[in-house]
């Protein structure tokens, strides 16, 4: 038991701090919100440091419910860093309107616990518990600005659709359990392999279960055709919350989907690969086309995230160790790019200090705020995957994985769709650099946001190439622990 608990040290730290900080929030009220936020960030740092060492390879805890391997460790570091960064950026954003409340960091902490459990799940039930913990925190976060209709609507929409997806997921879980006799990933894989060993096709029950679970998870990563909630929720939720949604939960859900695909239904790769390929291509195409006409930067970034998830799924479709490593690499770089872009959106405020979200208001930003415009330009080119920015390499890796898995056609189609999406990233650049200046944004003195934007810009710049080798090594180690 103690050994099992030691595997969950980061989750224990995060849950304990969440509980303590909740009590502190109740006593201290909203005046203590800032202090509580920084304590929550400290908790994330502590959790990241105490992620159990991964030399031991697979380490199962709680009789096979929970696994702590280098795959989980990789994902957790990314999740905690992204959660902490979006929390830091939120303090300054809410603080200005005076509606920052102390439960915000607590909710982020709880979502962090849920995401940690998601990536460490070795059993369908752990998977579900982690997913729901994260989702419930996310529903509340989406409607955090209660007085704002759009925020409330976003929360409600997210909740209703999320509940539907959870239902589908649960139904899939029950089917898988019914037809394989177990909820543990390893046992399910064993059962499927056993069935396939007799030369029989995969039974209808397992197939249905597989499809339902994939659908439920596809909702969480917002892959087409289960992406509908994304633009609405991203637009309606307060911007720091959107930044959070686009980063950490995406990574967690993607890691979960990868682990499920490889460890639980790995023997049925042939079956799920078709689904993943469809979702990948549909996401890259729709994410590219639908964003073109968007006047709202948050909606545009929502479609951008759908588009990017599509590319990451191409890596998963390869189904190989290289493919899984490329997914992790992709998501790691994606979080940096997308967080950077959202941090710039946080800076968009008109002369009275009200947040603005229209792309038109970015006009001529390079005239009034060259630094900010350059940073945003780098994030856009990086999201478009244009070298020499770092965003090129994750795309490169997923395509390489697809090519070496004999899916050259998939790589070719995927790469062609990346040109479609390049168009709307260029549109942002054009607005910022080519157009006549719109009224300048109100100046801000939030040094924490400035530092975060600068760090993100530095990482996606060619300087980030120095990280490639190390990151690639870590991703490969992590991927190796799944096979």
């Amino acid at each position: 038991m103690l050994q099992s608990l030691s595997l969950t040290l980061p989750e224990v730290i995060l849950s304990t701090s969440a509980l303590i900080l909740m009590i502190a929030a109740a006593w201290g009220g909203d005046r203590a919100a800032k202090v509580i936020s920084w304590l929550a960030i400290a908790a994330f740092v502590a959790a990241a440091i105490t992620i159990p060492g991964t030399h031991g390879g697979h380490r199962l805890g709680f009789s096979g419910l929970f696994v702590s391997d280098s795959f989980a460790a990789f994902a957790k570091v990314g999740i905690y860093v992204a959660a902490a960064a979006s929390l830091i950026a939120a303090i300054g954003w809410f603080g200005r309107d005076g509606d920052y409340r102390a439960e915000y960091p607590v909710l982020i902490l709880l979502a962090g616990v849920g995401m940690g459990i998601m990536v460490s799940a070795a059993d369908l039930l752990t998977l579900y518990v982690g997913l729901e913990l994260q989702s419930l925190a996310a529903y509340v976060l989406a409607s955090f600005q209660r007085q704002d209709n759009r925020s409330a609507e976003a929360g409600l929409k997210y909740f209703v659709l999320g509940a539907l997806a959870s239902g589908i997921l649960l139904y899939g879980i029950s089917l898988l359990y019914g037809f394989t006799g177990s909820t543990e990933f390893a046992d399910i894989a064993h059962a499927i392999a056993g069935q396939k060993a007799h030369g029989a096709a995969l039974g209808g029950g397992i197939l249905f279960g597989l499809v339902f679970v994939l659908v439920g998870l596809a909702f969480k990563v917002s892959a087409v055709p289960l992406h509908m909630w994304t633009p609405d929720v991203y637009e309606g939720a307060p911007t720091p919350v959107t930044a959070f949604f686009a980063s950490a939960p995406k990574l967690a859900a993607m890691a979960l989907l990868t682990r499920f695909a490889v460890q639980a239904v790995g023997p049925a790769t042939f079956e799920w690969r078709q689904i993943i390929i469809f979702m990948a291509l549909a996401s890259t195409i729709l994410g590219g086309v639908a964003a073109v006409g968007q006047p709202n930067i948050k909606r545009l970034l929502a479609y951008s995230s759908i588009n990017n998830i599509g590319f990451a799924l191409i890596g998963l479709a390869a189904g190989t160790r290289d493919g899984v490593a490329s997914v992790l690499f992709y998501m790691a770089v994606y979080i940096v790019m997308t967080l950077g872009a959202f941090f710039v959106v946080l800076r968009m405020r008109d002369a009275e200090g009200r947040p603005v979200e229209s792309i038109a208001s970015l006009s001529g930003l390079s005239r009034s705020r060259l630094g900010l415009a350059c940073a945003m330009g780098m994030f856009m080119f990086s999201l478009a995957g244009v070298p020499p920015l770092l965003g090129f390499w994750p795309k490169f890796l997923v395509f390489r994985a697809a090519v070496s898995a004999d899916l050259t056609w998939l790589a070719a189609v995927g790469i062609a769709t990346s040109v479609i999406s390049a168009y709307y990233y260029l549109k942002i650049i054009k607005t910022m650099f080519f157009d006549e200046a719109a009224p300048a944004y109100a100046p801000t003195r939030d040094w924490a946001q400035t530092v975060l934007i600068a760090v993100a810009a530095l990482v996606v710049s060619p300087v980030g190439y120095l990280l490639i080798k190390q990151l690639n090594l870590l991703a490969h180690n992590a991927a190796a622990s799944l096979f």
Binding site: V403, A422, N472
Partner: protein, 507 residues
């Protein structure tokens, strides 16, 4: 010079210059950019002086230093050397040409240009296939900004078209590169050059590379981005586009398509010839009816680049050397012609041919230099244009007399549209008082155009200086493709191993 990472320093100087540019006054930025490009040119001249003709194939090699997914590996052969020299030589002239023409956001402009320089020369140096791709693609970003921010009225449309066209072309090449690396287990260009890819895969790989290089080149029918981009770009942007960026396509054919996929090249040579011949005749005719000076020169570029593709895929030494000479010469001449347009555009702010006329009266020095470049573009013996076009036609004649026949009409049409342009702009009587009142070239313009003029004459009178460094590399390439070479229709045997052309200037 030995031991010093010269090539990396060449790449680094403009980047540092660009960084400084962003933090100084507009005038400071101009000087910083000029000094950085001149320093690079100086270093380039030293590089040329130290290049051993007849030495090892790859010289000044650096690396490979592995960066995980690719490695930092640089090195040049004679072909790269010449193209690098072309870029280094044109850059300071571009900066001078933008001295007063660019009035807004000078710092950013100069920074973009310097970054551009690094990316362009990086392409010619890269010895790792993915490093090549990074440089090849990265050049899009500064050029996109240059056209979009400082361009003409239709700049935004032109910049999009430029970016998306070239991006779509090159991403397909990336898939092919991934396949090749997967097959050969190496990202090193010298290794890949020696790898024999299976013939059935070669066709696909060749087509993927063709998609990229044909757009960059540009070949008919994917040339339509070029007139738009040229017309809208500021003068110096056009110079760099025509002078160096178009050479990336030709360089790609010479470095990748031909030696890596010799069988596919031989099989698909009909495609290249067909597209090139259409380009020569069609774009020359289109050039004849242009009213916009820049557009006319842009279409002439497409026609000239078709000579390059014909020469490269003639599978013999004359053709290839000719193609390389056309690339160098066209870089200088079309760059100079765009500068000539820029000179009058700066004074009158129009590129309409009809607005000018009789400039020989009030701008004699301009008329003289413009004449020189017109003649070089037409291919008059004694200018750089002659050497390359003559050689590539000789090469084409070896392989197919019909190709040579149709291609030669391009020279006649070229003479027609260039002389027609020159006649309308420089001769005759002044039609407009403001055009007649334009002052002649100032010292800054004279230095830029004069420098190019001297090199154009040098290349025309003694091309050996430029051919000598490339001779061994062309020989290696010919040896590599010798088996695959298609049969000539005239029955001339052994064209691939024909004796090196030595005294081209005497023709």
């Amino acid at each position: 010079m030995s031991g010093l990472p010269v090539l990396s320093i060449l790449l680094l100087i403009p980047v540092i210059g660009a960084g400084i540019c962003l933090f100084v006054s507009p005038n400071g930025a101009r000087w910083v950019a000029l000094i950085a490009t001149l320093l690079d040119l100086l270093l380039g001249i030293l590089l040329w002086a130290n290049y051993q003709i007849g030495g090892p194939q790859w010289q000044f090699v650096e690396g490979p230093y592995s960066l995980g997914l690719f490695s930092w590996a640089l090195g040049i052969d004679g072909i790269s050397l010449m193209l690098i020299m072309l870029s280094l030589f044109l850059m300071p002239i571009c900066i001078l040409a933008s001295w007063t023409a660019i009035g807004k956001r000078v710092q950013e402009y100069m920074a973009c240009f310097l970054i551009m320089e690094t990316m362009m020369i990086g392409v010619f140096m890269a010895q790792d296939i993915f490093l090549f791709y990074v440089f090849f693609e990265a050049g899009l970003i500064p050029m996109f900004l240059i056209i979009g921010i400082w361009g003409g009225a239709e700049r935004i449309y032109a910049s999009y078209k430029f970016f998306l066209y070239t991006l779509l072309g090159s991403v397909l090449m990336l898939v092919a590169m991934l396949w090749m690396v997967n097959y050969a287990h190496s990202t090193s260009v010298p290794v890949l050059l020696k790898t024999d890819f299976p013939p059935e895969a070669q066709t696909w790989l060749w087509l993927a590379f063709f998609a990229s290089f044909a757009v960059k080149m540009p070949m008919w029918p994917v040339h339509t981005w070029l007139p738009d981009a040229h017309v809208q770009a500021p003068t110096a942007g056009s110079v760099i586009l025509a002078g160096v960026l178009l050479k990336l396509g030709g360089y790609g054919f010479v470095r990748f398509s031909l030696p890596m996929f010799p069988q596919a090249s031989a099989q698909l040579v009909w495609l290249i010839f067909a597209l090139s011949l259409i380009a020569i005749v069609y774009t020359s005719l289109v050039a004849l009816v242009q009213r916009d000076m820049k557009k006319l020169i842009a279409y002439s570029s497409v026609a000239h680049m078709a000579f390059v593709t014909i020469g490269i895929f003639a599978f013999n030494r004359q053709g290839l050397e000719g193609a390389l000479m056309v690339m160098l010469s066209h870089g200088l001449v079309s760059g100079a012609l765009f500068l000539c347009v820029g000179v009058v555009y700066d004074r009158l702010h129009t590129r309409e041919i009809d607005r000018y006329g009789g400039l020989a009266n009030n701008m004699p020095a301009y008329a003289l230099l413009f004449m020189l470049f017109t003649m070089a573009s037409v291919g008059l013996p004694g200018t750089s244009g002659f050497v390359g076009e003559f050689l590539s036609l000789v090469g084409a004649y070896h392989i197919s007399s019909w190709v040579a026949f149709v291609a030669t009409t391009g020279i006649i049409l070229g003479a027609a549209y260039m002389l027609y342009l020159y006649w309308r702009v420089v001769y005759g009587t002044s039609r407009n008082a403001d055009a007649a009142a334009m002052p002649d070239l100032n010292a800054r313009e004279l230095v830029g155009l004069g420098a190019i003029g001297l090199v154009v004459l040098w290349m025309g009178i003694y091309p050996e200086s430029f051919l000598a460094p490339m001779r061994d590399d062309v020989g290696l390439l010919m040896a590599r493709v010798a088996q695959a070479a298609p049969r000539s229709d005239s029955g001339l045997a052994g064209t691939a191993s024909a004796a090196p052309v030595t005294k081209t200037g005497a023709h």
